[in-house]
């Protein structure tokens, strides 16, 4: 057998084929068994950053400040709008051909936080205490903001993330 002007014995052909087969099998095996996370997705990244901005603004909007008047309808409207935004982001993930449970978990965590913040505000209002106190709002924003930062960092850690 003659390949590239070199004489290759049948044993060498067998060895080369075996090595290739082993390497390809290893690659397929690793991909299947280790369940790698899906690659970077610009749409998911955009969803995380825009939800972060919305959520932090929501806390600001319902924090005590001079001249602010309580508007229960506005609270309901913002809670509905936030819920819709999270549902849209979750639908975006569900619609992908290759679903990734790490992204779905990250979004669910953030959605639960938003729902909890809405419930806390509604409970406060039902007890006659409107708006979040500035100290509490600042501390809550710190925790919520970091939660989003971790989710964004997770997206940026994936394979094929564009370089900044």
């Amino acid at each position: 057998m003659k390949i590239r002007n070199k004489i290759i014995t049948p044993f060498q052909v067998f060895r080369r084929c075996t090595l290739t087969t082993v390497l390809v099998s290893m690659a397929i095996g690793m991909m299947g068994c280790m369940a790698f996370v899906s690659h970077y997705d610009g749409g998911s990244y955009q969803n995380f950053t825009s939800l972060k901005a919305f959520h932090l603004k929501f806390i600001d909007d319902f924090t005590e400040a001079e001249g602010k008047k309580w508007d229960e309808q506005l609270l309901d409207q913002k809670c509905d709008e936030g819920d819709l935004r999270f549902r849209e982001a979750q639908e975006y993930e569900l619609g992908k051909r290759k679903r990734d449970d790490t992204r779905e978990k990250a979004l669910k965590n953030l959605h639960d936080q938003f729902t909890s913040d809405c419930s806390a505000l509604k409970k406060k209002a039902s007890e006659g205490h409107f708006f979040l106190s500035p100290y509490f709002a600042q501390e809550l924003k710190g925790q919520v903001g970091q939660n989003y930062n971790f989710a964004i960092k997770g997206e940026e850690s994936r394979v094929a993330t564009p370089k900044k």
Binding site: L19, V24, Y135, F136, L140, Q143, F150, A151, S157
Partner: protein, 108 residues
């Protein structure tokens, strides 16, 4: 300066004292933890305990902050998992692709 044991200063019964000891032990372990995030969280809990005792936070707000911190830490662990799995993929798949490209070409 606020001490974490001040939260329990009015507690007299034995059962609650045991809970207090367990809490203080866990708190002291967490504050010396090498993971920066765990340490930061513990310092925040101490600050919120002080705010609760001084009336700057009410019980509901205190609970809401602790729950938000718990969710944040769940996200932190998830992000670590993503980072580890992505790094593994970059290393293993990258290595295999390179092996196929180079070793097979170079070897007779």
């Amino acid at each position: 300066m606020f001490n974490i044991e001040d939260v329990f200063k009015d507690i007299k019964d034995e059962g609650s004292k045991l809970v207090k000891d367990e809490f203080v032990n866990l708190f002291n372990q967490a504050i010396t933890e090498s993971d920066g995030q765990v340490k930061e969280n513990t310092e925040k809990v101490k600050e919120w305990c002080a705010a609760l005792c001084s009336g700057k936070l009410n019980k509901d707000e205190f609970k809401t902050l602790l729950e938000a911190q718990k969710r944040k830490m769940e996200q932190y662990v998830l992000t670590k998992e993503i980072q580890t799995r992505a790094k593994l993929e970059k290393l293993t798949v990258g290595l295999i692709e390179l092996t196929v490209k180079t070793v097979l070409k170079l070897r007779p």
